[in-house]
Symmetry: C2
Subunit: 254 residues, 2 copies
Amino acid sequence: MAGGARSEDRRSVAQKLFAIAEALEGGRRLTLSEVARRAGLPLSTTHRLLAEWTEWGGVERGDDGRYSVGLRMWRLGVRQPTARRLSVLARPYLDDLLEATGEHVHLAVRDGLGATYLERLSGRDPVTVISGVGAKLPLHATGVGLVLLAFAPSDVLEAVLAAGPVKYQPETLTTEPELRAQLAEIRATGLSRSVNALTPGAFSIAAPVLGHTGQVVAAVSIVARTDRMDEPQFAFGVRMAARGISSALGWHST
Amino acid sequence: MAGGARSEDRRSVAQKLFAIAEALEGGRRLTLSEVARRAGLPLSTTHRLLAEWTEWGGVERGDDGRYSVGLRMWRLGVRQPTARRLSVLARPYLDDLLEATGEHVHLAVRDGLGATYLERLSGRDPVTVISGVGAKLPLHATGVGLVLLAFAPSDVLEAVLAAGPVKYQPETLTTEPELRAQLAEIRATGLSRSVNALTPGAFSIAAPVLGHTGQVVAAVSIVARTDRMDEPQFAFGVRMAARGISSALGWHST
C-alpha cells in the first residue's frame, strides 16, 4: 500500500522519477494511487513528480485522470539508434519469413540480462506467446535470448547464473552445465533449437544477426506449435532472414 | 557554451533531467560536452545526471563514450497507448495507399502545438521531405497539421497565432484571416489541399481520422511533387485510408 509508514527512502530524485516511469511500463492507464503503489512512493511525492513528467510530455494524463506513457517518450524512444535502424532494415526479411512460414517471427536484442523484442509478427494460426513489441524476457528462457547469451561476453552468463534462472517449465534449462552445453551447441551450429521455455507447446528456432564488424547484435526466431514445427525448413528460413538482415547491416561473410 | 558563468539555474532536478533527454532527441550520438551545451548545464551536473539516466537505461553510453537514447526509453515509448494502437491499426491502410499512389504517406497526431509523425512511408520517387517518424512539425505548415488544427479546440489556434507562425515559404499561411479561412474549408470539405509549406515543390492532401466517439484523433496525408499530384485520385485514396483507419478504431458513420 502507498503512503504507509515508510522509514526512509534513500532514492535520488532521478530514481524516483524513473520509478514512476517504470510503473507505467506495462502500458495500462493507471490512477495516481496505482502509480504511487507501484513506484513505492507517497501520494504527495508521486503527484508532484507526475506533474513534472506530464508538463514535459513524458507522461500523459487522460480526461479520466489516469496516467500513461506520453507522446514525448514515444518520440524519444523512436530515436533510439539501434532499435530504429534494426527494425527498419530487418522488416522486409521478417515479413518474408512470416509469409514463407505463417508462424510467429521475432527480432530481439540483448538488453542487460534480458532479450528486448523489437519486432513481433504474428503467424496465421499462432500459438499464444507473451512477447509483445517492447517486452523484455529472460535470456535463458527464450530462443532469441539463448542466441544472444551464447554470443555475449562471459560475464553475462555469470550474471544470469548468479541471478538464479527461473524454471518456467520442466524443459527450461537453469543449471550451469545445462546452459553451458546448450550455448556451446548454439555457437557451434549458429542456431538455437529449443522448446520455448515460456510457452507450453511451442518450439523455437533462432539465429544470430551480425553487425558490420561481425559481432552479434540481434537474434531472429520462429516460434511455432511443436506439432507444426518443420525443423529443416524453418531452420533454413531463420538462417536466410538472419543473413539478410546482417548483410543489410553491412556484414560481409568472407 | 557550456559551463559559462551561469548566474542561477532555477530549473528543478526533473527539468534538468528532461533537458538532457531532449538534447538527445535528434537521434545523433553526442559527447558529454555536446549534451551539456544543448541542455544548458555545467559539465559536472550533466555528467552526474547522465550517470543516473544511463544506470536506469534511458540513455546509453557507447564504447566511444558518446551518449544516445537508450533501449529502456524505446521500450517505454512503444507502450504509449495512442501511438502504438494507431500505428498497428493504420499500417495496412497506409501500405495500401502507398501501393496505390507510390507517393509519401504520413500519419500524424496532434501533440501540443505540433504534429507528431507516427508513420511515414516513402514513395518510389519521392520529393525530399523532412518528416521522419517521431518528428514534430508545426501545425500551420503541414497538411496533416492543418487538419489537426482545423478540428482542435479553438484555444489551440489562438496559441498557434500567439506563438507567431513562421512563414517557411511564400505560400505558408500565417495570418489569422488566412488560417481561419483555410481551416473553415477543411472542416467543410473534410480534406486539406495545400502546397506543402515546408517542402518546396510539394503538394499535400490530408484527411482526418476519427476515433470511436467521432472526435479527430489523427490525420493521414499524401505528399507528392506538385507536377505529379493527381488531385482527384489522391483525394479519393486519402479519404479511403482515413475512413478505413477510423473504422478500425471503432468509428461508425451513421
